[in-house]
């Protein structure tokens, strides 16, 4: 029995019974509320906890290097330059891979150490979420899918990397980068102009 069949059922009563059988549950997170904590292994095999970065801005970036929308931003170095620019300002940038073993984009810890070098990634850490628990807790649907946590622990942005939904790197220069916009605004004590946008990209390979 497929999920789409389940999800298309009109009857609420039947839905309520069957919903508990749906394998993938996306909890999702709400802006303005405390971002849920998590612990994941990084590419060096060390356990990293969100609570390690108390009082700092934390960017969560869902990643799969084989996804064309990720390539769009890594090919010309756009994602890496954002990582560099903001980690230099004290922001913690965590690139999280929720691809299940055997699925596209999945790499072992060693594989990620190499990939981080190959792609000249400048994130604080690459975290492995092989069972997809953290991805589903945050409601990560696409690669890329971006979340920003403020120093007080509250979520201030979730959504797309930028405003032009395409796989073409040539569109980057004319797009509004929502992550930079949100970080810059919040750091300046201003309201985040676009705190929630619909992400675009490949589906996360849970």
């Amino acid at each position: 029995m497929s999920i789409k069949w389940i999800r298309n059922l009109a009857s609420l009563a039947v839905l309520a019974i069957i919903a508990s059988m749906t394998p993938a549950t996306f909890a999702g997170v709400e802006n303005g509320k405390t971002a849920p904590g998590f612990e994941l292994k990084n590419s060096h095999g060390k356990t990293v906890s969100l609570s390690d970065y108390k009082d700092k801005y934390v960017v969560l970036e869902w990643i799969n290097h084989q996804c064309p929308f990720v390539k769009k931003h890594y090919g010309p170095g756009n994602m890496q330059s954002l990582q560099k620019q903001y980690t230099e300002k004290g922001v913690v940038w965590l690139s999280i891979c929720s691809s299940a073993p055997g699925k596209q984009g999945h790499l072992t810890a060693n594989g990620w150490m190499q990939a981080a070098k190959d792609h000249k990634m400048a994130s604080t850490a690459v975290l492995l979420d092989e069972d997809g628990k953290v991805g589903k807790m945050y409601g990560a649907k696409t690669t890329p899918h971006m979340f920003i946590i403020a120093p007080d622990g509250n979520l201030i942005y979730q959504g797309a990397i930028d405003s032009i939904k395409s796989p073409r790197s040539s569109d980057i220069s004319s797009a509004t980068n929502y992550v930079a916009e949100a970080l810059d605004a919040h750091m300046a004590g201003k309201e985040v102009p676009n705190p929630i946008t619909k992400p675009y990209g490949c589906g996360v390979k849970y």
């Binding site: 497929s2 999920i3 789409k4 069949w5 999800r7 298309n8 009109a10 009857s11 609420l12 839905l15 394998p23 993938a24 996306f26 999702g28 084989q66 996804c67 064309p68 929308f69 299940a100 699925k103 596209q104 589903k136 649907k141 696409t142 959504g159 939904k165 395409s166 796989p167 073409r168 929630i196 946008t197 619909k198 675009y200 990209g201 490949c202 589906g203 996360v204 390979k205 849970y206």
Partner: protein, 277 residues
């Protein structure tokens, strides 16, 4: 796969790449697992008349392309027309989409060939004996992986001031596609209201107990969220929560009501209504 078989496959792919005609799809990173061709419903262009062109997007087995609202990931197929002077192209008439699921992520689109028909209007005065219409088509095709593809397509048709003939080669495909398009609802057959961030679609003339609504705007409702369907006599109402991405102000709602997604092909109705205050 043995090494020999692997090499053989690669060589086949390379040869296929060399032999590809103009209409063959090109992925950004090699051959795309979908191809696109530009077809005409009729064999000639009559000045001042509207006719249908169609972009047939055919994914390989197991792959799919996307509807105008792709769902939780993906991208809709796009057509950029290069028309002769005085010609106009209308919007894509999207066939009824299917819902598909990959690793818990839901999408809307087509698991088989989809003919995206577009009305083209010719000007009253045409001096040429024949004209070429070009279309730049881009799409995203996904299976487990997603691959963007694009093609530069063109079609040349003679200009004749007579009632055009239907092209027998494409007749069946156009006919099937057009009869299966979502049927536009009249103003008195649909109404839309929003209350407490919940959207209600009312169809006052149809009893559709298995109905599912898909919005054309991907930010409006979350694909897969619960839809409450009630039928009273011949009145169907569908209520669904707006998604967290929905705009603050919504004045018009467009989309399709699929009567029963398990029917093959499913009947569908096109909703296009102003939101009642």
């Amino acid at each position: 796969m043995s090494d020999r078989l692997a090499i053989f496959s690669v060589v086949c792919l390379l040869i296929a790449g060399c032999l590809t005609p103009v209409t063959q799809a090109q992925g950004l990173f090699g051959r795309s697992p979908a191809k696109a061709t530009l077809l005409s419903q009729q064999t000639s262009i009559q000045p001042g008349q509207t006719f249908l062109l169609g972009v047939l997007v055919t994914p390989d087995d197991g792959w799919h392309t996307y509807w105008i609202n792709p769902g939780e990931s993906g991208l809709p197929t796009k057509i950029q027309w290069e028309l002769p002077a005085g010609f106009n192209a209308g919007d894509i008439q999207w066939p009824t989409p299917h819902v598909f699921e990959m690793g818990g992520i839901l999408g809307l689109g087509y698991e088989g060939p989809a003919l995206l028909t577009v009305p083209i209007t010719a000007p009253r005065q045409i001096t040429d004996d024949s004209l070429t219409i070009k279309a730049q088509v881009s799409w995203l095709v996904c299976k487990e992986a997603c691959i963007p593809g694009r093609a530069s397509l063109s079609i040349t048709l003679p200009v004749k001031d007579v009632t055009p003939k239907v092209d027998p080669a494409n007749e069946a495909l156009f006919k099937t596609t057009l009869t299966q398009l979502p049927k536009p609802l009249a103003a008195d057959e649909q109404s839309v209201s929003i209350k407490d961030r919940k959207l209600t679609i009312t169809l006052p003339t149809m009893a559709l107990p298995h109905a599912v609504f898909h919005a054309s705007d991907e930010s409006l409702i979350e694909l897969g969220s619960e839809q409450e369907v009630t039928v009273k006599g011949k009145v169907t109402t569908i209520t669904v929560a707006l998604s967290m991405y929905a705009p603050k102000t919504i004045t018009q709602v467009r989309g399709v009501v699929v009567a029963n997604p398990h029917d093959k092909p499913p009947k569908a109705y096109a909703v296009d209504a102003a939101v009642k205050p």
